[in-house]
Symmetry: C2
Subunit: 222 residues, 2 copies
């Protein structure tokens, strides 16, 4: 089946490095869903003002393997990157059909463009969106299910320090979102090299940092 983007996500993270590993882990992380022709019809949003959350079905466009190859097992970061799990038992982007699924809070509706303001997305800027559905608590909310190896949300594991050279670039709000993102440890689970300097695209800038033990230092923002 051929599917076509109805919208694209616009947000502060320029690539998938540094994205939260699920939706809603970083509540202040704001972005917008911008509809594209011929789907940019204000009428298609009518009634969405009665809902506080939406489902977004989107494409892991950065993880697509053009040859269609796939692996039946993946190594979830939650298991330290050592244990293999079946792809249907994980939310890994490396999966057949490359579809992502995120429940996002609505912050505002702009009927003029149209676009939808959302919070807590685990999408990078430019990700294609294939469907939007209202979140229905009676059909979608099951708080007492067994969540396997990911029963509870991953917590902040790193203390974040900001070097003087990196201060004053972003507003306090943006800095607070950046700190929360980094505290979740964006490294691939197999990398533990204290001399390595990482770069993360955030708000159009390159945030450079390194990690020693459980301390992360933002070195500079360029």
């Amino acid at each position: 089946m051929e599917i076509t983007p109805i919208a694209y996500y616009r947000g502060p993270l320029g690539s998938k490095f540094g994205l939260p590993r699920q939706a809603s882990l970083v509540p202040g992380l704001e972005g917008r869903i911008e509809f594209v022709p011929p789907y940019n019809v204000p009428d298609a949003l009518r009634g969405l003002e009665g809902f506080s959350r939406i489902w977004v079905i989107w494409g892991f466009s950065e993880s697509v393997r053009e040859d269609g190859s796939w692996s039946p097992t993946v190594r979830p970061p939650r298991l330290g990157g050592n244990a293999r799990m079946g792809v249907w038992a994980t939310r890994s982007p490396f999966r057949p059909n490359f579809l992502g699924l995120s429940a996002l809070s609505i912050t505002d509706l702009d009927f003029s463009k149209p676009s939808i303001g959302v919070e807590g997305a685990d999408l990078s800027d430019g990700s294609p969106i294939y469907d939007i559905k209202p979140y229905l608590p009676y059909a979608d909310a099951f708080p007492h299910e067994r969540g396997g190896f990911a029963q509870s949300a991953p917590g902040s594991v790193l203390e974040v320090y900001v070097s003087p050279a990196a201060e004053g670039v972003f507003s306090e709000d943006k800095m607070s979102v950046l700190r929360r993102l980094l505290s979740l440890d964006p490294r691939p689970s197999y990398q533990r090299d204290p001399s390595r300097v990482y770069g993360m695209l955030f708000e159009g800038r390159n945030v450079r940092f390194r990690i020693i033990d459980d301390k992360l230092e933002i070195i500079e923002i360029v």
Copy 2:
């Protein structure tokens, strides 16, 4: 983007007429997800035994318009079929990209085929499935969201009577599921014709019934 079925749903309802209008409305409604080559790999299910529920992203194959045309608004049955709502504010099958989303309880895992037993599906027999993900309560369960015009589950609205001619065809368990399905009122919301006899495909048979006021009579099962 081209997406390919990884599995098909096998269940008692032979077409979309009579399907519950969301997942989990009819808990005893059992079915199976049967993987197809090259995705029928037992290893891809490894770890799923730790989870009690899955997300299924599937195709509204009976609602596909081949010419790709779509309407920005639809008439949800919940509003009596009179009010128009934007397609992004409804779970209507008539939507761009024709993707369905259902949270289903796992009843069993068969690693030999492989297949997944599920309960409460709003899919008809033969529906294509494009992705399966574990349900993660911390990222997916938000019981206190505003659910617009569909805040709570639709209840049973019809009393179901079984004529003597229709008795003894199905087991008690199957009859109980059938009664629950029919009590939810499968009619399109604009149809209120008491002389009309409806036919619903259930367990390979045609269940014929009519509805007068709030009473539904199963006339025969052929």
